[in-house]
Amino acid sequence: MVLDMDPLFLAWSYFRRRKFQTCSELCSEILEKSPYDQAAWSLKTRALTEIVYVDEVDVDQEGIAEMMLDDHAIAQVARPGTSLKLPGTSQGGGPSPAVRPVTHAGRPITGFVRPSTQSGRPGTMEQAIKTPRTAHTARPVSSASGRYVRLGTASMLTSPDGPFINLSRLNLAKYAQKPNLSKALFEYIFHHENDVKNALELAALSTEHAQFKDWWWKVQLGKCYYRLGLLREAEKQFKSALKQQDMVDTFLFLTKVYIRLDQPLAALNLLKQGLDVFPREVTLLTGIARIYEEMNNITSATEYYKEVLKQDNTHVEAIACIGSNHFYTDQPEIALRFYRRLLQMGVYNCQLYNNLGLCCFYAQQYDMTLSSFERALSLAANDEEVADVWYNLGHVAIGIGDSNLAYQCFKLALANNNDHAEAYNNLAVLELRKGRIEQVRFFSGYLYGILCMFRLN
């Protein structure tokens, strides 16, 4: 006779082993037998939440709607150095745009793609909508419509016989009384159902029940307010939570609020306060470095990235950013060392080999240059990447004075990505050197078209 394990214990075990699907199925079985089993119910909510859980702290991209209907901005025209909205108001420290290329939005290219690297806002609603949604410039219409909606529908798929918990019939006041259930339920509503309104209601009732002494509920309230765009309320909640309990998460959430409010200096201050409480915390240091980078203050950003590396010497973002910074400040040899480190850590992709190739060329290690680029080409995942590699090869060709090769490289870049503005520009320059004015007109016509499309500055 086989001794059956206690199903609830088994479910727990599945949960701990991160087999959430099996865990939730097992819980369903238990709940069928005894519908009022609170332990099973709570476990199931947690399992379902874990399936779709996304770390809220991670930067999310501002959508067009949030951007344009933003009434939190303090000053229409911010002073230089106090805003993230104005690209190109460098506070010194960074190389000029002629030395370090910029993104389509006018920010210096960073060493690491993250959702906010495209920021730099378009000036008007019209401009924002006109901006084409190519791979480079994609910006969701609103942040609430993109990821969150998909998560919501995902929850419907996992349970074919309707939602697990029918929110409209839930007596939130009753659940708010039970602290052991309410937290799991909140996370379920917030992450799985993506129903911010109900989540907010539950959080409000619970924090009241806890007599405003539980910092966790305040953070959750703040998250709800943030999601709803009520930034000032969110700020209040986070601040109050911080008074009770210092948490890294709370600092990061509050930073997010300040960044959304376009107050980078306040965000920096806050993160530095956080560092006093949690000395050398990597996430806080990274946050500071990112803000400095967004503000075009590359020197300070690099300092903080170096601090990050002291704590966590496998931090990919920090290594990549420091590497690219060295490259653009005329130290390709040092950049090469950082990129080699990335290679040792197992990063293996087109971009890295491309960077290695460029560094090798500018550090005059000619033997490695072309093989790196070859590998980059073979690893390229899409046409845009191929185009970028050819574009860089064009520069190598110019570096060795072979303008025919350069011409062909730029042409190949265009063949792979026909709105590569830089390639058009460089082709026009090459034609100008040959003295073929007609061709120059042709290319600059294209270039002008693309610039209009992107509304560059």
């Binding site: 000029s96 002629a98 030395v99 370090r100 290329p101 290219i109 960073t110 060493g111 690491f112 793609v113 690297t117 990549a320 690219s324 490259f327 653009y328 005329d330 950049a335 990063v347 992709n349 971009q351 890295l352 491309n354 960077n355 460029l358 500018y362 005059q364 000619y366 990447e385 970028d388 574009y391 860089n392 520069h395 110019i398 570096g399 060795i400 004075g401 072979d402 303008s403 503005a421 830089e422 520009n425 460089n426 026009a428 320059v429 100008l432 050197r433 600059s444």
Partner: protein
């Protein structure tokens, strides 16, 4: 192109301001009796125009023209001016022509028609219209513009006539500048200097005039005067980029690197992205023997101007000095790709190749250099040394004699040429080694020949004691050749004096660079 635009912009400014104010008065005074109603809103149009409120201005003009059925001259005139500001030259030309039909007696209208034609590049048509205008009213502006038109048509005789006439009527800096430019186009530097001298007398505080005059003197090699004028320019405007660059490169030529650096520091604030500036800074460091900094600066210059062979030349030179021959080879070959007609580049390439032990190609490179460079004795000397080291005494002798011939030629042409002492010494050694030392061409008396010969023969142990840097194995492998090849670099370094002063004409590269702003390699996000 850039010059042209500059001139156009400058001339446009002058030609724009005059007609507006006169036109404003003209309709009021003349036409008030005939068409009182049509002209009544001219003041409003004028007001909006000078406030640059073009949208409102256009709206009023439209109303006015509807009322007057297109016969209101002033409204059409201002509309045309606005079109021109918006870059719609063709439309503005048509409207100005309408103006000229409405009021054929006004020279202002004709001037504007001609101006539009000029902007469209139809110089001949512009000249005709200007001539018509001149019949109505002769003034400075017409003469000046006629001169400019003739200049672009390469009719320098008429151009200088008109420009001089303009100067007689009224003296303006812009006319002086155009006249000077015209003389430069003609290739007549002396006349250009005369013109600029007069111009400087007329307005002694115009830094552009002072700088240009200084640069002209520099071109002629009259350093004292050049320095004087550049210095004057710098006293009036201490951050004048062109003047700083020119003055700095002069100091550099005299080995005054620290002073030059302080000058460049000022310029680097105002123009941080100028390739010639970074090139000169790099060569300053080179002169101070700070090679790493020199390479860094030169590389930045190369990054900003990838097509400038002078920068590549300097990079090659610095790498040769650093004994990084492979890198030097790459930079020099890139330079040769961009500028295939320069003998000195081939010499440097050959030196790099010799050190890379590719003797065959080095010889070919020397051959090329000898065929391209017809006056420089250095080329032959270096070639002779290479051949001698390879044991080809006959070939070496031939090259040596060729060198002597060239030296004599230079001596004949000018009396006070000074040769690089290092080169003289090297040539003497060489002559001794080839046993032709008796008929020396140098001014030095051929005393203690014997001791010199001893020097050459004992050069082998000497080189071994010298620190050879990173490629020690290579250096040691070379026998007495090392003694020569080491000094070859230095003797080619005799031509080092040239590169820093090469890029000192700052306006040479402005042209190509304007379109190249994004000509920078990108390291992609990852």
């Amino acid at each position: 192109m850039a010059e042209e635009e500059e001139a156009v912009a400058a001339a446009r400014e002058t030609s724009l301001q005059l007609p507006v104010s006169t036109d404003y008065k003209r309709p009021r005074s003349k036409k008030v009796q005939e068409l009182p109603i049509l002209e009544r809103r001219n003041w409003l149009i004028h007001l909006h125009y000078i406030q640059k409120d073009y949208e409102t201005c256009k709206a009023i003009i439209k109303e006015q023209l509807q009322e007057a059925q297109g016969t209101c001259e002033y409204a059409v005139y201002v509309q045309a001016l606005i079109f021109r500001l918006e870059g719609k030259i063709q439309e503005s030309l048509e409207l100005f022509q309408t103006c000229a039909i409405l009021n054929p007696q006004s020279s202002d209208n004709l001037k504007q028609v001609a101006r539009s034609l000029f902007l469209l590049g139809k110089h001949k048509a512009a000249i005709e219209v200007y001539n018509d205008a001149a019949k109505l009213n002769q003034d400075w502006e017409i003469c000046h513009n006629l001169g400019v038109c003739y200049m672009y048509l390469k009719d320098f005789k008429n151009a200088s006539e008109q420009l001089n006439y303009a100067l007689q009527l009224n003296k303006h800096d812009i006319t002086f500048i155009m006249l000077g430019k015209m003389h430069m186009l003609e290739g007549d530097t002396d006349k250009a200097i005369e013109v600029y001298k007069k111009a400087v007398e007329f307005s002694p505080e115009n830094t552009e005039l002072l700088t240009t005059l200084g640069l002209l003197y520099l071109k002629l090699g009259i350093y004292q005067k050049a320095f004087e004028h550049l210095g004057n320019a710098l006293t009036y405007d201490p951050s004048n980029y062109k003047a700083i660059l020119a003055a700095g490169s002069m100091m550099q030529t005299h080995g005054d690197f620290d002073v030059a650096m302080t000058k460049y520091r000022v310029a680097a604030y105002s123009v941080p992205e100028s390739p010639p500036l970074w090139n000169n800074i790099g060569m300053c460091f080179f002169g101070k023997k700070k090679y790493v900094a020199a390479i860094s600066c030169l590389k930045r210059a190369n990054y900003l101007a990838p097509f400038d062979w002078k920068i590549l030349y300097n990079l090659g030179l610095v790498h040769l000095t650093m004994q990084q021959y492979a890198s030097a080879f790459h930079f020099l070959s890139a330079a040769i790709n961009l500028q295939p007609k320069m003998g000195e580049l081939y010499v440097l390439l050959a030196v790099a190749l010799t050190n890379l032990e590719d003797i065959e190609n080095a010889k070919r490179s020397y051959e090329q250099a000898v065929s391209l460079e017809l006056f420089n004795p250095l080329v032959n000397l270096n070639y002779a040394i290479l051949l001698y080291n390879q044991g080809d005494k006959k070939g070496a002798l031939q090259q040596y004699q060729e060198m002597e011939r060239r030296v004599n030629k230079i001596k004949e042409s000018s009396n006070n040429t000074e040769f690089d002492p290092e080169m003289i010494e090297m040539a003497q050694k060489m002559g001794a080694a080839l046993q032709v030392g008796e008929n020396l061409v140098w001014t030095k008396p051929a005393k203690d020949m014997k001791s010199k010969q001893r020097n050459t023969s004992s050069s082998k142990p000497l080189t071994l004691q010298q620190p050879l840097g990173s490629n020690q194995a290579l250096g040691q492998a070379m026998s007495s050749a090392a003694g020569y090849s080491k000094s070859i670099q230095l003797s080619t370094g005799g031509s080092r004096q040239k590169p820093p002063s090469l890029p000192l004409e700052p306006d040479v590269c402005t042209d190509a660079n304007t379109g190249e702003s994004s000509f920078t390699p990108e390291v992609k996000d990852k």
